[in-house]
Symmetry: C2
Subunit: 402 residues, 2 copies
């Protein structure tokens, strides 16, 4: 059955608007003629679309470019602040939200603690965060992008399972959309971070294929293939933290045993350092065990920096477990670029060397030689940026993600 | 610098021919008007392209279709036998070659043993195979598709490293192209097989995302994502057989230790069954050890079927190691369809149950519930078909692979 003519026109128009926006976004200041050339739209169509976008404040003229013979063309660009996105990172004891412009620049950020809250309490914090950021928005909001740990159905905005937050089948997308009237895009936090690394990371040309692995309380990867976020059949791609890697391993937050998280995460390293210290000579002399109870990541970091043998063993073992998982990931995907982020990366060079060494040791020479494992270069919150990028691409058709 | 006008016209024409062929290939008998509608080419362009293709014998008219008001349209289709492809599978002691038509149907097949030959000797067998098949070809040859174990640079047709064949940096594509004057496409055998499973496997609509794992002498996966073969940054995607999975493991053919191949391949299972039998009570009584020396896969299969405990342990352990690797593969990719092929799959249901159980045990419930691990349904040689499909797609632009 053919679509009614009106709907088809409407759809064609939306398609054209997206094509023009994408061209402006990807190629920077551009003339109408250049847009027509790149999009294969007619000059007239491009001018009509630009005129509407300019009226919406999305596009502005910024003067004349270099002439290629005739009159120098007027250059156009997207107005970075024409729309703002609320980007949220729901993870690791703190929920972070920010206002992000169309160039991925953060103008206002709020952090709220969620430590100790249950599922309902955590949801209240999300709503509070959204309300505060809406109140601060100085321009029209394009929507809300959310990055959160767990298995997320990005198609419906439903959190199918978030181990850390006690959320199961929570329709976060629908709830936030009803509260605000804005479009909402929800994705796994590691997936969002990988897209941010692709879109905003590094210098020079974008790296089309990469894995970005978050190593903090949780462990999870995001995978970008051919410049697009790969989410898998069930949006679970990269959820390597809950793959069993140790036989007879410790109980994981997910309820199973021996997951990668139980040996490579921040808490796993802290627990291992504590256990080693308790087994050690001081403990056998009846002291130290209580002292160690309060060990947190910062303490292990200090002990590791001071050369403490228990901390050193725990940290390097954690790195090696991660390296082994990276070897299999690289065997499956053969992506040459793996970047690491999250609180555990603060252990620095010696931890990174253990990760690299174990990944290389378990990989074919040809694969190991080509593989680069590095700490992420972006200082800002990767998940917030990635969640924002996902919302922008979904709303403006900028083609960074599928 | 703009291209010369002539080259641009030439390129546009090639592009149009590919579009028309792909439409005919994917949608079956189709009219000129329907092709124009699907390709967005003009009626005149489509008619010109069809006229040329008909003259080449590639396309034929097969009568009139159903009228949608006016005169019933003439339907066109690709002539299956208009071009033949030589498909080669260089693996596992035997090299297999076949003539394959444009529909993936095999008309003539030759198997030649290579057991015991060195690199140069194996290459002679390849050339022999190609010469024999060319002599049998009843129609014009489109080219040669080769599937072979190892890391293959499909861009240049170079075998970078084939563990089993003692080939390193062998320019097989160039050698065969010079010998025959035909286009040649060389790919990893497991990758080719995965494409065949996508293109020709199953019934009903194609499964866009899948992993096909070959478990024979070698272990390797091919990965299809979004209907395209994913080869990775260095064409090594799916080379999981040489990822280290066992600490202090046995020496692998690749020179390293504890690779998946050393615990899950046909030879690993045979060796393990032999070792267990040698340790067993009969051996301790001074008999049996010599008997076991000649154990081959067929013997282990018979012993397994007869309920022999050593064979059972060896086979099920092999299955569990494969299952563990699949858990990580699924954690990385979240593809719901995994198919298994190769000689080890002949161990059947109990082996498959061990693979499935271990993969599920090591995966998140949400992932495990959605994952299907099955034996491949195609009886013919998957690698030959896949290699042919890769050549066809590369020469005719049929878009099955990138």
């Amino acid at each position: 059955l053919p679509l009614p003519t009106k709907a088809t026109h409407q759809r064609t128009r939306e398609h054209n608007v997206r094509l023009v926006l994408r061209t402006l976004y990807d190629f920077g200041p551009t003339s109408r003629a250049e847009i027509a050339r790149r999009t294969h739209l007619t000059r007239t169509t491009v001018s009509d679309v630009i005129s509407d976008l300019a009226q919406d404040g999305m596009v502005e003229e910024i003067g004349r470019g270099v002439s290629s013979g005739g009159k120098a063309p007027i250059l156009l660009r997207i107005v970075s602040g024409a729309r703002l996105v609320i980007g949220l990172d729901l993870g690791e004891g703190t929920f972070t939200g920010a206002l992000v412009n169309l160039r991925g620049e953060i103008s206002h950020q709020v952090d709220l603690p969620v430590e100790g809250r249950d599922g309902a309490g955590s949801l209240e914090v999300v709503e509070d965060l959204v309300d505060r950021l809406r109140a601060e928005a100085t321009g029209p909001l394009l929507g809300i992008g959310v990055g959160t740990p767990g298995i997320i159905d990005s198609g419906t905005g439903t959190i199918r399972w978030a181990v850390n937050l006690d959320w199961q089948d929570l329709e976060l997308g629908r709830l936030l959309a009803e509260r605000t009237g804005l479009p909402v895009y929800v994705a796994n936090d590691s997936q969002a971070a990988a897209l941010a690394e692709y879109a905003f990371g590094g210098v020079g040309p974008r790296i089309p294929n990469l894995a970005a692995i978050k190593v903090g309380r949780g462990v999870g990867a995001g995978i970008v293939l051919g410049g697009r976020l790969w989410q898998g059949d069930g949006f679970g791609a990269g959820e390597i933290g809950h793959v069993g890697v140790v036989d007879d391993g410790a109980r994981c937050r997910c309820g199973r045993f021996g997951c990668l998280e139980t040996v490579a995460s921040a808490e796993a390293i802290v627990a291992r350092a504590r256990a080693l210290a308790a087994e050690g000579p001081r403990s056998r002399r009846g002291r130290g065990a209580r002292q160690q109870d309060g060990l947190a990541l910062g303490d292990v970091r200090a002990a590791f920096a001071a050369g403490d043998p228990c901390a050193t063993t725990a940290v390097l073992e954690g790195g090696r477990h991660l390296g082994a998982a990276i070897a299999m990931l690289a065997g499956v995907l053969d992506v040459h670029h793996v970047v690491l982020h999250g609180s555990v990366t603060a252990f620095g060079d010696r931890w990174l060397a253990a990760v690299r060494d174990e990944a290389a040791r378990r990989s074919m020479g040809l694969v190991a030689d080509a593989m680069h494992i590095d700490l992420v270069g972006i200082a800002s919150n990767l998940t917030v940026l990635g969640a924002s990028a996902l919302l922008m691409t979904s709303e403006l058709g900028l083609e960074l993600a599928r």
